[in-house]
Symmetry: C2
Subunit: 732 residues, 2 copies
C-alpha cells in the first residue's frame, strides 16, 4: 500500500489547510492563463492546434450570433434537452477562446448565458421527466447536470478575470455554489458511489470548489461527502480501476469514465499540484488511458465486451482529452501520437499544446505499442482479468482476447471465458456488444433495448460454453458479481507460441471451466494459428453448447447438415436461445470444419468432434418483433457429457482477390483436431496438417508452475512437457 | 452512316495492300520503340511511371530467377491453369521491361519461354477438361487461350529485334501463326460473334497478324473471317456498343470487354493509323470508356446490373488500360486523372507515359465529371437505355438509376425498369448483382451458382414490379431478348427537379408498365427527395409485387405487421420467391412508411397505400442449402388490380453520430403519399410534408411532348401542367 501513503499524508494536511488557496488565479481549471498565452503564440505554426482553434471558432462564432436561449426544462431527449447540452459545449469553448484571444464578444456570450442560468436554475425543482433515482433539475438525470457544471465552471473560470464583481457574485451565489451544494446534499450517495456517475459528480463538485476557491467543496469531491476517503474521486479511482488501469465495466465505459477521471486529474494538477495526482498509484491515470487504448483494435474500435456500442472508437472526445493529458503528464509517450494523428484534433489547453507541438516536430510517427498483455481486474487486481494475445503490426494485426474479469457492474454480460478474435483489420469472431441504438428515439427512446437483456447479455450471445441452455450464474447479476474468472497462466514472451489460460467455477452449480488459448506462429501458417482448448468438468452430466459468432460467408464445410430451407424455427425458448434461428444442423462425423470467406482471406474453424457432437448453423433474429437485432450468423457445437473438452483451431489462410480475380489457399493447413486425453494432470490435443505434420498441444490442468514436469500416457504414447503448456511438432 | 464511310474506304483498300507492311518495326503492338525510349527517359522523375516500372520489375525479377515451367495442360482452374496464366503475364511484362531497359536477362526469359511453348503447343489437341463449345488447347476454354496469345504476341513483339532469325522463325511458325490460324479455322464462329469472347479472339488474331506482318490475319480480325465486315472487331465494336458507348451486357462486362476493345484499338492505331480507329463512330472508343466510368458510383464500384460481382471497381486492370488509352487518344480529358489518381498505377506504354506526365504536372485533380445522363442501348441506340440522375459532389453523391435496356445477352437479368439508389458513398437500394464467388473452387467451381438463375436473374430479386409471381417474359431469355424498355422522357437540365421516365410492354401478356423517377432538390430536404411513380396497366386483373432491397436497419414503421418470430416460411415456391423469408407482414393502413438507419443517415420510404396493399418484410436466404446467398433484407408491396400506380418517396434525412452521440432529424419531412388520379392523360401524385407543405407531381402518360398542355380534374380540383412532368409546391 506504499503508493497510497503520499496521498494520505496530503489528505490529512488538506483538511487543515482548507481555504488556503482562496485567492487563486483564473483561469486554472483545465486551462491556465499561461497556457492560453502559449497557445496564442503557437497558433499559425502548429497545425493540429490551428485545426482545433478553427473548429472551436466556427462553433462559437455561430453561437454568439444566435440569441441566447435558456429554456425551461421540459423533455428528456428532445430539443430543450439538446439546447442545454449545446449551451454548455458552446459556453465552454467560448470561454477557452476568450482566454486565448481576449475577444470580449466571447466573454460577453459566456457572461450573458451564465446570468440567464443564474436566473433560471434557482427556480427549478425536480425535472418534470425525472425518474426515480438520480434525477436532476435542468436535466432529467443528474448525470447530465453534472456534465453541465463541469463545462460551465470552465467557462466561468475563463471569463472570471473579465467579469465585474457583481456578475461574479451573481454567478457564484445563484448558480455554481447552489448547484454544487445541491449535488452534495441531495445526491451524496452518488458522489460517494463507486461508479462512473459518481466520478462525474465528484468532478463537477470539485471543479466548482476550485473555481469558487472553496476547499470544503473540493475536499468533498476528493475524499467523499463525509471526508472519510470512502467516497469521492480518489476512492473511485482506487476501486474502479485495477492496478493495471483496467476499468471494471469494460472498454466502452472506460472511455466514458476517462472524461471525468482524467479531466479532473488535470484540474487537480493545476490546483493542488502537491497531491501529485499523476503519480498516484504508480501513475494510475496514465495506466488507465494506456489500458483503454490497449482495449482497442488497430481500427480504433473499443473491444465490445459487456454493454458497448461497436461504432465507438478512440476518435471520441473522451480519448482526445485522455491521450492529450497523459501525453503531457505521463512522459510524452511517442506511441500516443499515432492515436493523436488519427484523431486529428487536440484539446485547447496546455496538454493539447504539448501534443500539437510534439506532432509538429515529430520526424515520424510510430504506431501505438499494441501488445500481448493481461489486464487484471479489481481495485487490488485480484478479480480475474482480461488476456490479449497479439501478433503483427497495425496494418494486419491478429488479436485474440479472453475475458475472465469480474461481472462489470450493471453493464456486465454473463460470458465468463468468452473470446474475441480480430484479423485483417476487422472482427472475425465477434462479441455482439449491446442491443441499443443510442439516441434513436424510435428505438425504445434510444435506451438499452429489451433485447439487450434477452439476447446481448445472455451467455449464448457470446463465444463461450453455455450449460443446459442457461446463462452463467443463471443470468443473475448479484450472483455473477460474487464470482470472477481466475488467471491460470499468461505467457506472451515467446512470439512463436503465445498462450493464456483461465478458469471459472460454478457458472452452473458444480461446473468448472478452464479455457486455454494459443496463438502459434509457424511457417506452415500464413498468419498465426489460434488454438482453443476449453475443458468443462462437472459433478453430473449436462448439455454443453459452445457457439462461435463469426463474420463471413461459409464457403465450405465437412458437416453433413440438413438445411432448413423452407421452414425455420428458433433454437430454444429462453435465455437468448429464442433469438437464434436454426438455418441448418447435423451431427459431426469426425472433426468438424467450416471455412469462411471474410474480406480478402479465408478462415477455417476446425473442432474436435465425433457423432456425439451436434452442429447448428444459426442466424440471429428470431423473436425480434421490432427489428432490433442485427441478422448475423453463428455456429454452435452441442454435446451432452459430464466432462468434456472443446478443442478448436481457427486458421486464417489464403487470399481472395475479387478485383485481380484470383483465389489461392482456399483449403486450410489443419485438417484434423483430436483430444487425445484430458484429466486432472493435463490435456493433450493433436492437430493434423494436410502435409502430414502433427502438432501436440499439452497443457497442464494443475495449478500454474513453470518448472513442473508433466507426464501423460495416451494409447501407449508418453507425452512429457515442462511448465504450463508446450507445443511439439512432428512430421514434415 | 456517314461515320462509317471512312472505315469502309480503308476496308476496301486494305484488302488490296495485304502484305505491304510486312517489313515493320518492333515493338509496335501496345508499345512502340520510341515510346519505350520515352519511358526510359521519364523514369526517376515521373512518380506513377516509377511505381508501374518498379511493380513490373518486382514481378519479372522474381520470374526470371525461377526455372521456366510450361506444363502439359491438365486442369480447368488448378495449379497448371494458374501457371499458364502467370506465364503470359510474366512474359508480357518481361518483354516490356526489355524494350525499356535493354536488359538481356528479360529477353532471354521471354525467348526461352516462347520456345518452350513452341515445343508444347503443336503437340496439343483439345484440352482434357474442354466443354462442348469454345474449347482451347492450352486452356479448357478458348477465351483463356486468346488472352494468352494477346499477351504472348506483345512479349514476342518486344524481344523481336533481339532474337535470332532462327528463333523468330520457330516462334512464328510453331506457335503464333498456328495458334492464330487455329482460332480462325476452328473458332471462326467466335471471331465472327457479337460477344466479348469474340472481341478477345479477334484481338488475339489481329495482334498475331500485325506481329507476323500478315495482313490476311489482321484483316480477318478486323473484318471477320469472311472479310465481309459482318464479323470481327469492327462489327463487334459497332454492334455491342451503343452510339453513347453503352455496352449491352452492362457495366461489369463492359469493364471486361474494354480490355480487348480499347487495347486492340491502341494496337490498330500503332499499326494501321490510317484507319483512324479512335475517330471511328464519332470517337466511340473514348465514349465507351467514359460511359463505363459513368456506370460507376463515386466509390468506384460498377453499377451491378445484370451479372456482376459487386467488389469490382474502376481500380481493375482493364480500367487502367482504358483510362490511360483514351486519355492519350481522346483529348487528355483531365477528369480521367481523378480515376488515375485512385488507380495509382499506369500502363508501361505511350498512353501510360502520357498519363503519368500529366499527373506529375497537374496542379490539381478535378473529380471525374459524373453527370445525370442517359445511355442508349443497342448498336443504333434504339434498344432502350439506362437513365442516371445524379446530385452532389463526389464526397456525398445521390445517384438514382433506372434500367430500361435490352436484355443484355446471356448475362442479362429479367428486371425491366429496375432501379438502384446510392447516397452517402454507399448502396441504399441495391441490385443483388450475380450469385457467384469468383474463383472460389468450393463454390460450384467458382462459376455462376445455381442461385444465380433461381434468384439473382429473377425479377423478384430487383426493385421493380413482378406480375403474378412470374419473372418478366417468364424468365425466358429468347423472349426477353426480343423486348427492351423505351425512354418516355429524360430531363436533367434543371437541377431542382430532375426526372426520367420509361416504359416497357408485355413483361407479362397484356401488361404495360411506365416508371417515372424524380429527384427533387428543395430546401425542405437535406438531400434530394426521390419520387418513384410506377404505373401498371393490363387487360385483366393481376397480382403486382413491388420489392425494394435496402441496406440498413429498420428503426421505425407505421405498418401494423405480424412478426413471424418463432417460425418462418418462404414467400413463395418459384421464380425467386422461394428464396425470400417472410420476417413480418401486414396490411397497410394508409401510406406505408418505413424508416431505415444506414451509416450516418436515415432513409424513409413512404408508399401510397391503403388496406388493399399488403406489406412483406423479407430476408433473403430461404431454400439456400449451400449458404450461397447473402442474408439481406427487403420490403415488398403487394396488391391485386388490373391497373395500379405504385407511388413512393425515398427521403434521406437527419444525422446519426454514434461517436459524438447524437441523433437529429429521425423523422422524415414527407408524411404522406397519395395517388390522386391516373389515366391515359397522366398521373397526379400528392406528397404531404410534416409542416403542411404539399407537392403535386404531375406526369404525362401520353407520348413525350415538351410543349403539350395537360389538364386533369381530380375531386373538383383541376391540375394543369405543360410538358412531360411538373412539380408544384403549395403550403408553407
Amino acid at each position: 500500500m506504499s503508493h497510497r501513503t503520499h496521498i494520505e499524508v496530503i489528505f490529512v494536511l488538506a483538511l487543515f489547510v482548507a481555504g488556503a488557496f482562496a485567492q487563486r488565479p483564473h483561469p486554472s481549471l483545465m486551462l491556465t492563463a499561461s497556457e492560453a498565452k502559449g497557445i496564442k503564440e503557437a497558433l499559425g505554426r502548429t497545425p493540429l492546434l490551428d485545426t482545433a482553434f478553427q473548429r472551436a471558432t466556427r462553433v462559437v462564432e455561430a453561437a454568439v450570433t444566435r440569441p441566447i436561449s435558456v429554456p425551461k426544462p421540459v423533455d428528456a431527449s428532445g430539443p430543450v434537452h439538446q439546447r442545454h447540452k449545446e449551451n454548455y459545449l458552446e459556453m465552454q469553448q467560448a470561454g477557452v477562446l476568450f482566454a486565448i484571444t481576449g475577444d470580449e464578444r466571447y466573454a460577453r456570450f459566456v457572461r450573458d448565458m451564465l446570468l440567464e442560468y443564474a436566473k433560471l436554475w434557482p427556480t427549478l425543482r425536480k425535472h418534470p421527466e425525472a425518474g426515480v433515482e438520480s434525477y436532476g433539475r435542468l436535466f432529467w438525470q443528474s448525470l447530465n447536470e453534472t456534465v453541465w457544471l463541469v463545462h460551465a465552471t470552465q467557462a466561468y473560470d475563463c471569463v472570471h478575470p473579465w467579469l465585474s464583481m457583481k456578475d461574479r457574485s451573481t454567478i457564484e451565489q445563484k448558480l455554481i455554489r447552489p448547484m454544487a451544494e445541491y449535488f452534495v446534499a441531495e445526491h451524496a450517495s452518488v458522489v460517494d458511489r463507486t461508479h462512473n456517475h459518481g466520478a462525474w459528480m465528484a468532478t463537477a463538485v470539485g471543479m466548482a470548489g476550485y473555481v469558487l476557491g472553496d476547499t470544503g467543496l473540493s475536499n468533498k469531491a476528493l475524499y467523499g461527502t463525509k471526508l472519510d476517503r470512502k467516497g469521492g474521486y480518489l476512492a473511485q479511482l482506487d476501486q474502479l480501476f485495477s492496478p493495471d488501469g483496467y476499468y471494471t465495466e469494460g472498454a466502452y465505459y472506460a472511455r466514458y469514465a476517462l472524461m471525468p477521471f482524467v479531466g479532473f486529474a488535470q484540474v487537480i494538477e493545476n490546483n493542488e499540484p502537491s497531491l501529485k495526482i499523476f503519480e498516484h498509484r504508480g501513475g494510475l491515470v496514465r495506466k488507465a488511458v494506456h489500458a483503454t487504448l490497449q482495449l482497442t483494435y488497430t481500427n480504433g474500435a473499443f473491444i465490445p465486451i459487456n454493454d458497448a456500442m461497436k461504432e465507438k472508437t478512440f476518435l471520441s472526445a473522451e480519448l482526445i482529452l485522455a491521450t492529450n493529458t497523459v501525453f503531457r503528464h505521463g512522459g510524452e509517450d511517442p506511441g500516443l501520437l499515432w492515436v493523436v494523428q488519427q484523431q486529428g484534433e487536440v484539446m485547447l489547453n496546455g496538454a493539447g499544446l504539448a501534443v500539437a507541438e510534439a506532432m509538429r516536430d515529430a520526424k515520424r510517427i510510430v504506431p501505438f505499442p499494441y501488445a500481448s498483455i493481461e489486464l487484471r481486474d479489481g481495485g487490488d487486481g485480484t478479480q480475474g482479468g482480461l488476456g490479449m494475445l497479439r501478433y503483427g503490426g497495425v496494418e494486419d494485426q491478429s488479436l485474440l482476447l479472453m475475458k475472465y474479469t469480474s461481472h462489470g457492474l450493471s453493464h456486465g454480460h454473463f460470458d465468463k471465458l468468452g473470446i474475441l478474435y480480430y484479423n485483417q483489420g476487422r472482427e472475425i469472431l465477434q462479441d455482439y456488444g449491446a442491443a441499443r441504438f443510442l439516441n434513436v428515439e424510435t428505438k425504445y427512446g434510444g435506451r438499452y433495448l429489451p433485447e439487450n437483456k434477452t439476447w446481448a447479455k445472455q451467455t449464448v450471445a457470446h463465444n463461450t460454453v453455455v450449460v443446459d441452455e442457461r446463462s452463467h450464474f443463471d443470468g443473475k447479476e448479484p450472483v455473477s458479481s460474487r464470482h470472477h474468472g481466475m488467471r491460470h497462466f499468461f505467457r506472451a514472451v515467446d512470439a512463436g507460441v503465445q498462450s493464456m489460460s483461465a478458469t471459472v467455477s460454478d457458472v452452473a452449480s458444480g461446473v468448472q471451466m478452464q479455457r486455454t488459448l494459443l496463438m502459434i506462429d509457424d511457417r506452415r501458417f500464413a498468419k498465426p494459428l489460434v488454438v482453443d482448448i476449453l475443458r468443462v468438468v462437472a459433478d453430473k452430466e449436462h448439455q454443453y453448447d459452445l457457439p462461435f459468432y463469426y463474420f463471413g460467408q461459409i464457403v465450405n464445410t465437412n458437416v453433413k447438415y440438413t438445411a432448413h430451407g423452407a421452414k425455420r424455427t428458433a433454437l430454444g425458448v429462453a435465455n437468448g436461445y429464442q433469438h437464434l434461428w436454426v438455418e441448418a444442423d447435423g451431427p459431426a462425423n469426425g472433426p468438424a470444419q467450416v471455412t469462411l470467406l471474410n474480406g480478402r482471406r479465408y478462415y477455417s474453424l476446425t473442432t474436435a468432434a465425433d457423432s456425439s457432437t451436434h452442429v447448428y448453423f444459426t442466424r440471429l433474429g428470431a423473436n425480434d418483433p421490432s427489428f432490433n437485432l442485427r441478422s448475423e450468423p453463428g455456429l454452435l457445437f452441442r454435446r451432452r457429457a459430464q466432462e468434456t473438452v472443446f478443442a478448436t483451431t481457427l486458421e486464417p489462410h489464403g487470399e481472395f482477390d475479387p478485383i485481380k480475380e484470383f483465389s489461392i489457399g482456399l483449403h486450410p493447413t489443419i485438417i484434423g483436431v483430436r483430444v487425445l486425453a484430458s484429466d486432472d494432470e493435463g490435456t493433450v490435443v493433436e492437430l493434423t496438417g494436410r502435409d502430414g505434420s502433427r502438432w501436440h498441444v499439452m497443457v497442464t490442468n494443475r495449478p500454474s508452475d513453470p518448472s513442473a514436469e508433466h507426464v501423460m500416457k495416451v494409447e501407449g504414447t508418453t507425452y512429457r512437457w515442462k511448465g504450463d503448456v508446450e507445443v511439439e511438432r512432428s512430421g514434415e
